[in-house]
Chain length 411, copies 2
């Protein structure tokens, strides 16, 4: 009998997914986080400020409630999520977003990432065309990549995704064997630009979807992290044809540590998503669902939203003020109206990824190079700066350091 | 401009995943649960008895601990799971299972279902051959089905998966273009038969894997729900070549409501699994992980295991005693040494699925028809009876009712 060595089995295993591994690359963000030591000021991740988390008092009350229904809270749940939580989400959406939904339209997910995962699983066949922003949220691309779509990049400007250009692209690809199947959009606090899509464009996007028979995936993690009062309605709230698959998360308005999000969509879509989740992880955790339900039912999440907005607005202001003061004029950047990020463009002879290693090593400051957010291979001279976690005075010091690094690389 | 109607978009959506929908069928178990009203005695699901859950006192203490580290517990975690929890799992495995592992070999999952999902995702290309028991756990098949494997069924008898027949099959398929890639096995408390694979067969399975260069997926949810003292070691504990991907769950030894499980495997496998999880849901919930870690660190899970064993042994005994008393001699069944289920064979002219509707309707008792556990299309005359949730006296009444239904259908 011959015995395979450990090395050989390692090769066997590696070969098994060789054709899939290029679609599952670790994200730049994650790999970078590993480089960062405690003395580095990090503008990398999108972690919320713990000051935005629910108070220990409210949590203690919620947990007493959960313990009072221990037999249910610690048991398996149903795949779609607890009906009582879904009802609470429906009421929350109605009062806070003017989105109307029935129980059969709502599904609870493990963060909104799982929503993206099941969209990819259900809708994308190899070569299917998906329109996304230039730039767009890289973890959505990661979730979709496994299914090998063909991305159609649509420029984003200060009013969000440019729907005029989208319509041209939709028309163009309509004549090919594969028309564009859906549009993925983060309309409020676009990741990474922080822009808010205008009402006109939201309406135009719905018209395009209706005219050319597409659907829209509206990813809305930052829908409540907004910094002025003139925020247009969610696209889902304007959707009269059930063309929008809306997804959001409790990570930013409650806390990421419970890993819960939700999806609102056409009943047919929800049914298929439910089958997908059944195979992936059976159901979301009941314990966590009862916790969120407790907070929603008592209006505690609603009550916390204005405080959370002020918290991040102060940080955004600190970052913009420091950038205005320190950044060389060769650097341009969006002034975010929502979300966690400032997105900056360096002179086109600077590669942000190369700059990053220098920034960490020499000046102890870190950011996310923007290239991974662009499906067309551009953006090598861009960077995403997150202001969500560091304190305002730390943000100021970090931007000063970063500005110094950039100045040293100017021609 | 033409507008697509809601009906049309519904068709559009349906067509999008038409080629995938047959691989995502809702399981018999789940669909059946919907039929069952409160007055039906249900032997269907595999839900644990809430009496096995941790005590409210211990939970309250754990939660005070979690609140004391609120900033970390409610924040995003890392994809592989909290290092402190993985360390606690490593110590638990070492003292309870004689499995040795390093941090880089351990990954935390959303139940062991997510372990199955990522095994499918990483290893199965269309047409790859996977050996499974006849019968085997149907939710594993559900997770694998999406990737379109070809199943090779291997008979299970009272000593578990028949490795003599497995070896013949491995030899036979080795000569084809596609050899068998891995063996999926539930060695302790096999689902649905409740059998324990003998030590000889465990060793033989490892020899086969080594000789023919396969790997083994050892699914071990019931490894602690055992009813005698002579339990062979986990296959992973005997594995000297790193050929076993071991997975288990806290659902049966803690509670399913936290949805946490873990995987132990070769570092290369774990790295790829981690990339898969990153795209699926970023990371498991920190809150839940700290809860389990609290219990593991204090030995509270270890301490609960003997009590849990007694609890389920009493229920198994109640079911077997009632079956011995009431079942007609035409019905044969396994006497489970572990796990949650009795698996029964009816005379071959009885279709268990047809019987089920009659059983629910006329006698208010429910079970899972066994056909879905057989990859070769057999098993239409089998049924899985779960004793994990109902109380012993209810089990007795339910078996009496079920026996009556079967008697009425005997020729």
């Amino acid at each position: 009998m011959e015995h395979a060595s450990l090395k050989e089995i390692s090769i066997l295993i590696t070969n098994s997914f060789a054709n899939r591994v290029d679609r599952m690359k670790s994200s730049d963000i994650r790999e970078l986080l590993k480089l960062i030591s405690a003395d580095v000021i990090s503008f990398t991740g999108g972690a919320p400020d713990p000051d935005a988390f629910p108070s220990p008092e409210d949590l203690r009350d919620a947990i007493e409630y959960i313990l009072s229904i221990r037999d249910k809270a610690f048991q398996y749940g149903i795949t779609d999520g607890l009906p009582s939580l879904r009802e609470a989400i429906i009421r929350f959406m109605e009062r806070q977003m003017s989105i109307k939904a029935e129980l059969r339209n709502v599904l609870v997910t493990i963060g909104s990432q799982e929503g993206l995962e099941i969209v990819g699983r259900i809708f994308i066949n190899q070569g299917d065309k998906v329109a996304v922003g230039l730039p767009t949220y890289l973890a959505a691309l990661q979730a979709f990549n496994l299914w090998r779509p063909k991305y159609i990049g649509v420029p984003v400007d200060k009013d969000g995704l440019n729907t005029e250009i989208l319509e041209e692209l939709v028309r163009k690809h309509r004549k090919t064997r594969k028309p564009i199947k859906f549009v993925y959009v983060v309309p409020t606090g676009q990741n990474p630009t922080g822009t808010i899509m205008s009402l006109e464009r939201r309406k135009h996007l719905l018209e395009i979807a209706s005219s050319y028979d597409l659907f829209i995936v509206e990813d809305d993690p930052y829908g409540f992290i907004t910094f002025h009062d003139n925020i247009p309605p969610r696209i889902k709230a304007l959707d009269t044809e059930d063309r929008v698959i809306y997804m959001s998360t409790f990570s930013k308005i409650f806390a990421p540590g419970v890993r819960l999000g939700w999806v609102v969509a056409n009943e047919t879509v929800i049914k298929q998503m439910s089958l997908a989740i059944q195979a992936i992880n059976l159901c979301p955790p009941n314990f966590n669902q009862y916790m969120i339900q407790y907070f929603l039912d008592r209006g505690l999440i609603d009550r916390n939203i204005p405080r959370i907005r002020r918290l991040y607005k102060e940080k955004r202001d600190a970052m913009l003020m420091a950038m205005d003061e320190y950044m060389p004029r060769e650097v341009s950047y969006y002034r975010p109206d929502a979300g966690f990020f400032v997105f900056a463009y360096l002179p086109d002879y600077i590669d942000a990824k190369k700059l990053l290693y220098y920034a960490i090593d020499k000046e102890k400051v870190a950011f996310v190079p923007g290239r991974s957010f662009f499906v067309d291979g551009s953006g090598y001279n861009t960077m995403r700066l997150s202001y969500s976690l560091p304190k305002p005075d730390v943000i100021r010091v970090g931007i000063e350091r970063l500005s110094r690094v950039i100045r040293e690389h100017l021609k």
